[in-house]
Symmetry: C2
C-alpha cells in the first residue's frame, strides 16, 4: 500500500483502543456463541489483542464469561456474552397524560418498567419534573448497586438536543424549558448523564432497533396520543433535519378548519385524529373514557371492547378517524415513499378497528400506484416505544465507546 | 497495527486502482492549483503512484496539463486540471409543455443548451420520444468528435430507475413507459449510456451541487410547472425512499376540494398552485399567457411585468398563490426541518411577487418557532435545474469511476 505513515501519538493510541473495544463489544452483542478465538477471527484482531480487550470489557462489567465451549474448532474456550446484570439504561417519557420510565440492561432486555397516569397539562414544568424525579428515584432504588449509565428523556416537542432544552412542546404548553438541568436537581445523576430528545424520533429508533419491522431502512412512524408526531428512518438512519425538529406531522393543515389544535392553529391533522379528537367522537363528557387520571391503555382497551360489541357510535367514530389517518398517511407516503408506515401510540392500541379504513384511504389518496409498495404496520412496542428508544440510545453510546463505563477496579498495570 | 492481512487478487488490484483514480480526479476537481506533488500530499499517495494515475487520467482525456507552476513549494511542476474539451454529459428534461437538453463538460460548465416549447399532453410517449431524439441529435451533431458519456432523462413522475421505466407520470398521463429503451432507438447512444430519474430529485441534486444554496446538507426543493414535486437533500444525500418515489409533495390534500388535480383527485396542493392554477387566477381563456406553444419563461416574465405595472388581478392572484404555497411549505418544514426551502421552476420565475406571501404563511403555519430557522430561497437554475442535475449525475459517475471513460489510446504496457 502507498499511504503515508504518521507516527501514532498517545491520543491516537487511545482512539484506536476505544475503537477496538467497541468492535469487540459490538461483535459479542450479535447472535453468538462467541469465544475469544471467534471474536479474533471475526474482527481481524490478533488473539492477544482480543484477550486484552476482553479483560478490559470484563473489568468494566460489560462482558462476562459463561460456559466453556467444547467440541468446536480449536481448543475449548470460555464463551463470552454481554453482562446483563451491571449497567442500567433509563428511558423516561413525559407525555400529556402519563409518565413512563423503562430500565433496560446492556442486552436491551427490560429490567423494570413503570407507567403512571398524570395530567401534565395541569402542572408547570417544575412540578412535572418533580414527579418524574420521584418515579425515577423509586425505580433506581430498586436496582440495588447497579450503576445507571444514562437517562434519556423522551418529550413530545422540539428539543435542542445539544443542551437538553425543550424549545417548544405545544401539547405540554412548554416553551424554553431547561429539562435536563431541571431533572438533574431531582435525581441522583449528574446532568452529563441525562439527555433529552424528541419522543417520536426516539420511538422511531426503537422501532428500527427492536420493533416488529426492525431493520427496515425506509420507515416512517406516526405516533402519539393527544399530540401526533413522527420519526423517519431514511436509508437506515434517523432523519433529524437541520435542528432535530423534523417529523412534526401532526400540524399538516389537512383537516377541516373547524378543528382547533393545541398549537392554536386550525385544521391541523392531529386536532382531527389525536386522542382528544378520538375520545370526542366516541364518548360524551363524563364518560370514564375521558378520565385522564385513569390509565390510558385501559381506556383504549375499553374503546376497542365497545367497538367489538358492535357499539355503532364507537365503530363509526373509529372509521372516520381511520379514514382521516389514511388521508394524512397518503401525504407522508407521497413525501417519503417508505417501505413501512408504522402507527404507534394510541393508533396501535386501536389497530384492529383502524387498519381497514387507513388502508382504504391510503390506497385512494397516495399518488404512486399501490402506494409505492408501502406496507401499513402497527407498533408492538405500544406506549413504551419512546422510552425504550431513549434507553436504547444509551446502550448504543456504550457500544460505541465502552470506556464511557468506569472500570470496576483498576486493572493491574492498566489505564484508568 | 493488528489487522489480518489478505493477499490482494487481481480484482482487488483493479478496485484499488479505480478508487485511486477517483481520488486523484476528485482532488483535481476541487479549487486548485494542483500539481502532481500537491495531489500526492493531499491524497497520501506516493509521487510515483500519482504520476502513474495522472498519466492514465490524461490518456482518458479527463485531466490535462496546463501552465508550469513556479515559485511554489519544491520544484516547479506542471499544473493539472479537469479537461473540459473532451467527454460531454447530457441532461434532458421532458416536461408538460417543454423539452430541454443541456450539455455539460467535465467541470460542470454548460457547453450548449436548448429548450423547445412542446405540448407533451397532446402527444403519445412514442411521438414525444421522437421529438426528444431530434433535439438530442441536433445538439450532439454540434459537438463534433466529443464523445457523449451519458444521457440522463429527467421526467416529472415516478421512475423505476434501475430499468429506466416511467411507472406513472400523472401530468404527462404516462403509465409504464419504457423511456430509456424508447429513446435509445431514436439517438446514436446505447441504452446502457441512458438513464431516467425523477425530475425534482435531479433538480435537488443540481441545487446541492451548483445552486445558490449549494452544499446545504438539509435542503428541500419544491419545483414544477403544471405538476409540482420536490426533492429532499437530507444529511448531505438525496432522500430517495424505498423505490425512489419520494418527494411527491404536489398531491398533499391541502387545498379546497373544488380544485381538480391532473391525478384525478380533488384538493391536491398542485391543483391550487401549479402553473395551470396560476394562469387561471391571472388570466382569461384566450389570453396569450395560456398559449402553450409559446415559450414558458417569456409567458411568466409577462406575468411579472403585469404585476410590476400594478395590475390588480395579477397581484391578487400571485398573493393567493403565495399564501397557499406558504401553507404547504409549512407542512414540509414541519416534516423535514430543512435549513433551506428552495422554490424552483415556475415559482422561481415569479419569486419577486411570491416571496412575501410565502414567508407570511410559512411563519404563521410552521409549528417550530421561527419556522425552525428555515430560510426561503428561489432557484437561480430556473427551468434548467432538472436537466443540469441529470448531466451532473453523469459527471459524478465518472468522478466515482474514471475507468468508465475509455482510454484515448492504449497506454504502453497499460491495461485496457
Amino acid at each position: 500500500m502507498t499511504t503515508t505513515s504518521v507516527a501514532a501519538g498517545p491520543i491516537d493510541q487511545a482512539l484506536v483502543r476505544r475503537r477496538h473495544l467497541s468492535q469487540v463489544l459490538r461483535t459479542a452483542a450479535r447472535p453468538g456463541p462467541w469465544s475469544r478465538a471467534r471474536i479474533a477471527a471475526e474482527t481481524g484482531l490478533t488473539r492477544a489483542t482480543v484477550s486484552s480487550l476482553v479483560a478490559d470489557l470484563i473489568n468494566r462489567r460489560l462482558l462476562r464469561e459463561g460456559a466453556v465451549e467444547r467440541g468446536g474448532l480449536g481448543r475449548p474456550g470460555q464463551l463470552l456474552a454481554l453482562d446483563p446484570d451491571h449497567v442500567a439504561f433509563l428511558g423516561v417519557e413525559i407525555n400529556v397524560d402519563y409518565l413512563a420510565c423503562h430500565v433496560l440492561d446492556l442486552t436491551g432486555a427490560m429490567v423494570v418498567s413503570r407507567t403512571v397516569a398524570l395530567d401534565v397539562r395541569q402542572l408547570d414544568p417544575t412540578a412535572t419534573m418533580r414527579r418524574v424525579g420521584k418515579l425515577v428515584n423509586a425505580l433506581v432504588a430498586g436496582l440495588g448497586d447497579r450503576p445507571v449509565q444514562s437517562l434519556h428523556l423522551a418529550i413530545p416537542g422540539m428539543i435542542e438536543t445539544t443542551v437538553g432544552r425543550v424549545a417548544y412542546a405545544p401539547n405540554l404548553q412548554w416553551r424554553n424549558v431547561d429539562a435536563v438541568n431541571m431533572l438533574a436537581t431531582e435525581v441522583n445523576l449528574p446532568a452529563t448523564r441525562i439527555a433529552a430528545d424528541n419522543e417520536a424520533n426516539l420511538a422511531a429508533l426503537a422501532e428500527y432497533a427492536a420493533g416488529s419491522a426492525a431493520g427496515t431502512t425506509d420507515l416512517v412512524l406516526v405516533t402519539g396520543e393527544v399530540g401526533v408526531g413522527g420519526g423517519v428512518i431514511s436509508g437506515g438512519g434517523l432523519m433529524r433535519g437541520a435542528r432535530g425538529y423534523s417529523g412534526e406531522f401532526g400540524h399538516m393543515a389537512l383537516a377541516d378548519p373547524s378543528y382547533l389544535c393545541g398549537c392554536g392553529r386550525r385544521g391541523c391533522w392531529e386536532a382531527a385524529i389525536g386522542l382528544d379528537a378520538i375520545l370526542a367522537r366516541v364518548s360524551e363528557p363524563g364518560d370514564p373514557l375521558r378520565d385522564v387520571t385513569q390509565d390510558l391503555p385501559s381506556r383504549l382497551a375499553e374503546v376497542v371492547a365497545r367497538a367489538d360489541r358492535g357499539d355503532v357510535r364507537t365503530l363509526e367514530g373509529l372509521r372516520e378517524v381511520g379514514l382521516l389517518l389514511g388521508r394524512g398517511a397518503a401525504a407522508l407516503v407521497n413525501a417519503f415513499n417508505p417501505e413501512v408506515l408504522m402507527f404507534g401510540g394510541t393508533f396501535a392500541a386501536l389497530a384492529v378497528h383502524l387498519e381497514a379504513p387507513i388502508t382504504e384511504a391510503l390506497t385512494a389518496h397516495a399518488v404512486a400506484p399501490g402506494a409505492g409498495g408501502c406496507r401499513i404496520a402497527f407498533s408492538t412496542l405500544g406506549f413504551n416505544a419512546a422510552g425504550i428508544g431513549g434507553a436504547q440510545v444509551g446502550i448504543e453510546l456504550v457500544l460505541d465507546d465502552p470506556t464511557s463505563v468506569a472500570p470496576f477496579r483498576p486493572q493491574p498495570g492498566g489505564r484508568r
